[in-house]
Symmetry: C2
Subunit: 366 residues, 2 copies
Amino acid sequence: MLAARLSFSQGFPLSSYIRLALDAMGGDHGPKSVIPGAALALEARPDLRFTFFGDAKDIQPYLNEYPALMAASDVVHTDVAIASDDKPAAALRRGRQSSMRLAIDAAAEGRADCVVSAGNTGALMATAKLVFKCLQGIHRPAIASVLPSAKGRTVMLDLGANVQCDAENLVQFSILGACFARSVLKIERPTVGLLNIGSEDMKGHETLHEAAAVLQSAAFPGHFFGFVEGNDITAGTVDVVVTDGFTGNIALKTAEGVGRFITQVLKDELGASWLSKLGYALAAKAFKQAKKRFDHRVYNGGLFLGLNGICIKSHGSADAFAFSRAVLVAADMVTYGFNDLVAEQIEKLGIEPDFVSMPVPAVAEG
Amino acid sequence: MLAARLSFSQGFPLSSYIRLALDAMGGDHGPKSVIPGAALALEARPDLRFTFFGDAKDIQPYLNEYPALMAASDVVHTDVAIASDDKPAAALRRGRQSSMRLAIDAAAEGRADCVVSAGNTGALMATAKLVFKCLQGIHRPAIASVLPSAKGRTVMLDLGANVQCDAENLVQFSILGACFARSVLKIERPTVGLLNIGSEDMKGHETLHEAAAVLQSAAFPGHFFGFVEGNDITAGTVDVVVTDGFTGNIALKTAEGVGRFITQVLKDELGASWLSKLGYALAAKAFKQAKKRFDHRVYNGGLFLGLNGICIKSHGSADAFAFSRAVLVAADMVTYGFNDLVAEQIEKLGIEPDFVSMPVPAVAEG
């Protein structure tokens, strides 16, 4: 866990606790990943305190195995859990007593500093949006993720919360991404690029050009690089890649697919003869190191940015290690005052808060 | 070349020649790739006949090295060539005597059956569209490519010709892709998927739902699978992936970027110790085989589908082998009557030709 501590949790103030509300029932594994994940996070950051929401009789057996965690935790029992295939609207209507909703309520009511859930993305986003509302000056929240790149890490958003985005949305996403890169990833002057189909000024949608025009002249917590292309995501050309939720989701899933395809072909070919099997065995450490650099678990955590609250969506299939990473990202967002930085930057940009005219955004589900 | 012959050129009729108009000056290497590429293609298909358009004094020295090719070729001299950074509008205005334009004119006027150029994509598409016009019932041409997938090959379109697409465009692209898979790739009943951010019916843009509704009930040269996601492109879930040119271009470039990133990391890690270097050496054949499966040269050729003429855009950096693949794809499209099949299927679909109201499409450049 040393690497984790160094990369994410250096220099946090130990003077106060960070209180996390965890949905213990979300994801494929529920408490089986959530409790050991929280225990791992606590090892890395002893200043964390947890409240687990969910079925106490499912949670307790796992908690019993981690005395240190037990001493740092509360359990709030509920029988209700959102299923992975529940529609967001149904989750909102029928999920008022669900582990997910209660965890979000706890954060909204000041009993916790942030929420982490591995549950249903659509339900989590819809509930978080309803309960937290958007930050002043942010019209729609976005889903961001930290991806491995040739130069280190790239923040990308939106990954599916908003199928269609206007120029203002893209400008706000740029600020959200830059604030995350600056506060949590400690990149002092993050570079931001708008995803387009060419780096020339004349290409792509009108929306992109409008957003670029604003970003070029705006007071901005970083540097606006201009347009970037699909290959720039992994090249690490910029620290923050901004796009609409449709394009972002497709780019992310395409990248995952290519990774899986290459892995499979390498496996097939390396297993095809005894000589290559031997070669693979000798180079095992190199493959392990390479795998580590692509390990999505290290970057686990869909960041819901732009809400008046900190909410992290862990991958549904997250194991304990991956879940611990999501917990640590949430804790870092609190520690480093992510939302305060956003508020400050939005004010500098001179965007008027417009809650009254805030459109009801479409939510990606599943 | 046996593999090439088997996969692309089986069973072609030797009774007549296929006449190709080649832009000898396009791409990074000009005649240096084009002439040896044509020679390779001629080895695979002795029924090909070539006309090279370009600077005779640049072409002739290369041609002299291939007597068989020389015997099967003409050269049409011109001093003018489109530069890789020429804007499409400028290429149209000032490029009437360019090697690219003359090659297209030759095909349009019946002196050749198809055109291949490695030149500037935007200029080639704009010129081909102006000269060939669209096929009856097709509102806009699309750029397609054949990509490697876990199950073999996937045709994907549009890759950048049309930044925005309506439902009719997507339906027509589906037909173009299916006709290509059927006629050239010999997939009898190709499956077609619309790229979306979820496979459920309720997700994504309205345009996608409209297109899906038509495809579900249309007489169709294949089977409409429904929505697919980014990871389905390389998984080979469907034979044909259809999307707008903005999303398609970003997905393609993202995939290329991930491939490059993984290759670089593997290289770094495998070179990091003598043991892994040894392992790599022993498994060299496996890596070579794997690389072959991803070799974009085998799939070289941006297919301009939907034009009243056959036009293939070779990658600008194509070497002789890659250029030969583009030539063979063009020849196959002629041999297997791709455009006739499209016309037949469009008629079955009952789409009215509407040249009068045909919008002037935006062209991606570069």
